[in-house]
Point group: D2
Chain length 312, copies 4
């Protein structure tokens, strides 16, 4: 796995050990309720940093190597479409498919996003912006695991310290970009922010965020039904959002399916799989939020050539 | 209002009257539970069509004129930030704001999307693809109106006839693009597809779409928890999704807020406003889905130069 | 003709009369050596400006209407491919072609670029940036016209006052974007900047721009072989470039060609055509340079949300 | 050095040895008139290929490692701006600059483009498209080298076998994209195609490409002044273009300049540098043309999902 992070401003001090620690958070085998693979994801940064660890303003290239990806764990599925996986659609679209793990539809690919997000976090911290996400249990994960089953889950995200004015008004609304990023994560079925789906059942009189004179000459809001965004643009309040993950599709039971010749067959899954992808998904949600916020701040001119000339 | 629709393939037969009828569906004043403005939106197509009404493959430019936009309906709010509106964030971001109606944050702007979607529908119909959306009541709209209040609502969308293979696997996943389009609509707070947020509470054994040999040499699915998309790519099943709209923020009650000088003030709204934006929102959801699906089919090579050369 | 200019920062004071004057410069019939059509191009600005003429930061939509486009001037060519025109390639690519004037391959379309450039000029002027271009005669235009012939020509452009640091280092090099913009103009066959093609015959010792301490703490250059750009990024020196235009392809002589059925035929051109497109092309070159420079300054953060927050 | 090539269609058979041979063509030390470094560029392909060497339709990631980049060859310039180099503009734009070789302004970076182009060539070959470029001497290179000097040069490119219809009519004209790609190469000062700058001095009657019925029901052209492109779209004729390279800026003579503190200083260059960058530049020109043509064919729908479904 590897990636290239473009658009990072120059002169951001990067703590390489912190990047590694963020990767470690995503790695499986850290808790009983995630996959038992022990993947020592080690990041190698190839470009974009000075010897002192300052960003140069050029793309940051990196590789994440992993010693523990046992391809035999996946090999048994060759030429058979796993239900609720991309095997079938990839095969149809491309006429060829790497059935073994590690492709673009694999959760392994998210390691690059986590690495990219970790770089962004260090820039955003300088600007006072903080991004965090956590898993919300919706089901009994250990019971599902013991039954060879899996379960879905929720992840809640929170962005604080974002200045007013981030987000573009039409096709790059802040929540639209955030939602798109979340929907790009494997297994995500829904996204909402602020009052979210609950807003559909509310009255206007219940959802009003009255405004009052705020501190330091700024405005204040008496509530935050809007979730920190008005018209696609941050209003200075915390941004909160929720992401719904489906259950891990690979469960330890016979799965009825067809093979590449459209003949009926059964898959009896083996291997190591998270019983609830939302648990490790929280780290990926955080990474995608970091990448999105950093990109939107870049679009708004933070870290730009102008900003550097002005701040000089 | 106006727009330019780029990317439409050539040789699509356009029925101009049908375009107008689609605009009429969006127009207010058609039912008791929408705004009472009688806007005769008339579309004028400026470019992109031959005299016979065939698309030329060049951008389709159009203007939609409206005689009934009474700016005085909005004028009273000048220099005061309406709660839950973009007035404040636009003013902060740009240092200037057109407080009168008609700006980018106005629902009026969606008329261009509806027009664009109407063109796309005529192409998609040739390909056997059908897109529809409808409003799902979640509250008593007429009661809210009589109380000077408003209410949120849901819109459900359905896409049928889409061939296998539409959507890109990484950053242009079909549902990610669809979700982004929906989140770009004014007042939308959430998006889900397939099992959606319900998936977060399901077990893997409840959510499996088993595969079987299908008709015509294709594969079949015994259920559709995936909502027609696997790994970001259409699998041939219907695509279903839901969109949550917040209540109309402008209600007929005193609204506590501040003005551009950060002084406390009260807005007493007047004018004509939909008590539930989701009702007319269904037409906009349909339009955005049409635009998205057409764009993703274009990216997948439908209507391309290659397709024309091959079909010749 | 019309267009939408997106990305213009807010709070730029727009002089509408100046926009009109720029369009008048492009219009034919102003000098003996251009086309004799008298086109009163009148611009109508539809959006993006406040009543006081300040930009709102939203897209500027405009229409340019023309009363004098006599379609019969072009009608005679229907179904016959004019040599050195796009008639053939458009027909092949799209399976349909509007043979009458006014399509995308028509020089008429450049009126939108001129309008867009005129808006950009007013912003750039605030920043001290100046863009100009002029025609350089390479042939005897009036003699060619009297012979029913046409001639090519050169246009030279000059950009002054650009701050250091504009242009991106890899795929959006300033001269690459400038060159692409110029190559997008109808009839352009070549682009060079600084020493240009002459550099191919020079020695390194002849082309060195030695550096010296400059005024105001900045650096100075003893010469400008580099044409104001180093590594794709402006260095503070004037940017100079040249653009080669081919002769007007429609000349008053029998032109051997084929029709849409691939049958040989002859076109005897009539109508009003510039004997040298480079003459009016200078205005278009200027417009495209204005659009490019404004866009690159926008990318570098000028006029951004950050800039506004900082300058406040 | 490394890169990620996205957009390559699936099922293209890749010959890895041929990729390596293309890199070897770019490597210095192969001829007396290029740099004497002996860089064994070895490519390692990390993703995107099946075990049988077929493309999967996913991004092709690769790394090119080099053992011979002696950083001390560059180290002497630290904190001093080499004339006609990007040292100054990078430092100004980013506030930090890696003065040692290997950055984005280094010719070393072109190794990724050459690798990417080599993949594209193998796809284009399947489609019958051929791209080649060669150096045209304009000066006495060996004499310049012996004098510690350098010289500019020309590169001529030729694209044959391209089907009709490649290129987009407005902002992605085939020659505009080709020109932009060429202007992105280090040291390029000019681009022209077809008659190029010569067209500026021609009469319309000299530049006409008369059309005649051609073979196989297609049209034919009696000449090719247009250089294979009409209105930005390929017309089936060969595409020819020329690129002007400036002399290598680093010459073996004292170079007057300033340091990062704006103090005057002298650089006495050492190290190994090509006396004429155009010689090895020809390989880069070829690579950029391959990348551009492949991309434009992709945009035209070649290799698309539709194409695969249709060809199945």
């Amino acid at each position: 796995m590897g990636g290239i992070l473009d658009g990072m401003p120059s002169l951001v001090k990067i703590d390489r050990e912190e990047i590694q620690r963020e990767l470690d958070r995503r790695a499986p085998g850290r808790r009983a309720d995630t996959s038992q693979r022990k993947e020592p994801d080690r990041i190698e940064i190839l470009s974009g940093l000075s010897e002192e660890g300052l960003t140069l303003g050029s793309p940051i290239g990196f590789i994440v190597r992993n010693q523990d990806a046992r391809s035999q764990d996946y090999g048994g599925y060759t030429n058979r479409f796993r239900p609720n996986h991309a095997d079938f659609t990839y095969s149809a679209k491309y006429g060829i498919h790497a059935f073994a793990g590690g492709g673009r539809a694999s959760a392994r690919a998210t390691v690059s996003w986590v690495a990219g997000g970790a770089f962004c976090r260090q820039w955003l911290r300088e600007l006072g912006v903080k991004v965090e996400a956590h898993y919300i249990a919706t089901n009994n994960v250990e019971e599902a695991r013991n039954n060879g089953d899996s379960t879905g889950g929720l992840v809640e995200g929170l962005i604080t310290g974002l200045p007013v004015g981030i987000g573009e008004p039409l096709f790059d609304k802040l929540h639209a970009r955030l939602g798109m990023a979340m929907m790009s994560i494997n297994g995500v079925k829904g996204f909402e922010y602020g009052d979210g789906f609950g807003a559909a059942e509310m009255l206007g009189s219940e959802a009003a965020d009255f405004m009052v004179p705020g501190i330091n000459g700024g405005v204040g809001f008496k509530s935050n039904h809007s979730g920190g965004i008005l018209g696609g643009i941050s209003n200075g309040m915390p941004i909160n959002f929720r992401v719904a993950f489906k259950p891990t599709p690979t469960i330890m039971r016979p799965l009825e399916t067809v093979d590449v010749n459209n003949e009926p067959t059964i898959i009896n899954p083996a291997g190591r799989h998270d019983p609830c992808i939302a648990i490790r998904g929280a780290v990926v949600v955080e990474a995608m939020a970091l990448l999105t916020i950093a990109d939107m701040m870049r679009i708004a001119g933070y870290g730009s050539t102008y900003a550097r000339m002005k701040d000089k």
